[in-house]
Symmetry: none
Subunit: 135 residues, 4 copies
């Protein structure tokens, strides 16, 4: 499994799992209709508690990214199920506002900020290529 979690991180483990699965989707290493490992399996692989993985999956389900079947386990939904909608834009704005505020306060211009996000966009582009070559 391509997931790696950092126990020392400030970020909650279940959040790290959720974030990496989302990154897996955009990289293309997991696709629509793919199954995620079972809760039990993933928990064992990562050496974390069942509840933790469960919480991550439930969060992803609630956010529309996956559907949890009794038999097939967790399955990636088609992209239509979680297209950015108005609610998401509001949530996104709430997340970004304090981050942008701090960057402004620390003297970063809009251009500096976009430079920072472009580095991240490029990382994701590389990930995508890599996954393509491997898959």
């Amino acid at each position: 499994m391509w997931l790696t979690i950092n126990l020392n991180s400030e970020t909650a483990i279940y959040t790290q799992i959720r974030n990496q699965i989302i990154e897996g989707i955009i990289a293309g290493s997991i696709k629509e209709n793919d199954s995620l490992p079972s809760v039990r399996q993933l928990a064992a692989d990562l050496g974390v508690n069942l509840h933790t993985v469960n919480k991550a999956y439930n969060l992803l389900k609630q956010e529309g990214f996956i559907t949890i079947h009794r038999q097939k386990g967790a399955v990636i939904n088609p992209a239509e199920n979680y297209r950015a909608d108005q609610d998401y834009l509001v949530k996104l704005s709430k997340e970004l506002r304090p981050v942008i505020a701090e960057s402004l306060c620390r003297g970063m211009t809009r251009t500096d900020f976009i430079e920072a996000i472009d580095i991240i966009y490029n990382e994701f582009k590389s990930l995508k290529k890599e996954a393509k070559n491997n898959g």
Copy 2:
């Protein structure tokens, strides 16, 4: 007082206080060498415990935004004290990465994302104008 906090928010109260003070700095409603209200005063105004305000102030102090005086209370530092440095850029990147990942996953392009941040930049620009007219 220009601070308003939301007791029901997911965001910790002390974080809300911190964030709004940062917004106050970029809006220009508080400036270099201005004093913030005393912890007791602000706590009373907001209807929260003094320790909560104290924690917010200590966080701001640790981040370089303010200096805490024994007599004058908390004072805004000159901007040089908290200019974006390498450490901050790393922190910023860590904050932005999962946010950008989710937006990509939900089908937002880089252009859509920049549109979202521009709305926030415009809000801050309006705040700045407003504060200028009031001050």
Copy 3:
């Protein structure tokens, strides 16, 4: 537990805890990746409030000595995380200056002063040996 605090001391309790943990590290009685007792546990052992221990741990975290895990509690960082850097040397100099000034004023030479610090160095050497024999 190897920690002893003095409630009557001028030094704040949380500072005493911090200092003794640092001494524990240099003595070798706690090592890289060792866990410290939980805040509740240590607070109970020392007969102080859990917030006081919490403050000490947070200070140590901020100084780079420990990492605070959600599950495992506080863990000693590898020494690389808190090697003396320029900032520390400045802080050290600020601490030492008035101490050296007073010693000079009271007629102590540099040699007298080094004699005084050597007594301390020898104490730490003994502590280290002791810990080695016990561990």
Copy 4:
């Protein structure tokens, strides 16, 4: 007056005053039997409260550095009055111990530490020369 205090410093103002007077003694810019400015005068010069200067003077008196006369005000004592004694050595050791502990913990050797104190000794030597030329 050669005293300069920093209101932003972590160090209490009365402690800064006390420290600088001690530095003045070792530099030779104030000598045995010299009078310090009156409490009122110094407070006015520094722009601080009377009580603050008073506290500094009382501390210096208690430590043996000065005598407070009704008429002549505060007068520097002869050096014999405050020679390092056993009590002072104990106090010094208590001050130095946590400082040395931290430096050790951060990987500084005894040699590194002595290098750091020598920088300070040299600063004081320069101060002394300077004061000699001016006086």
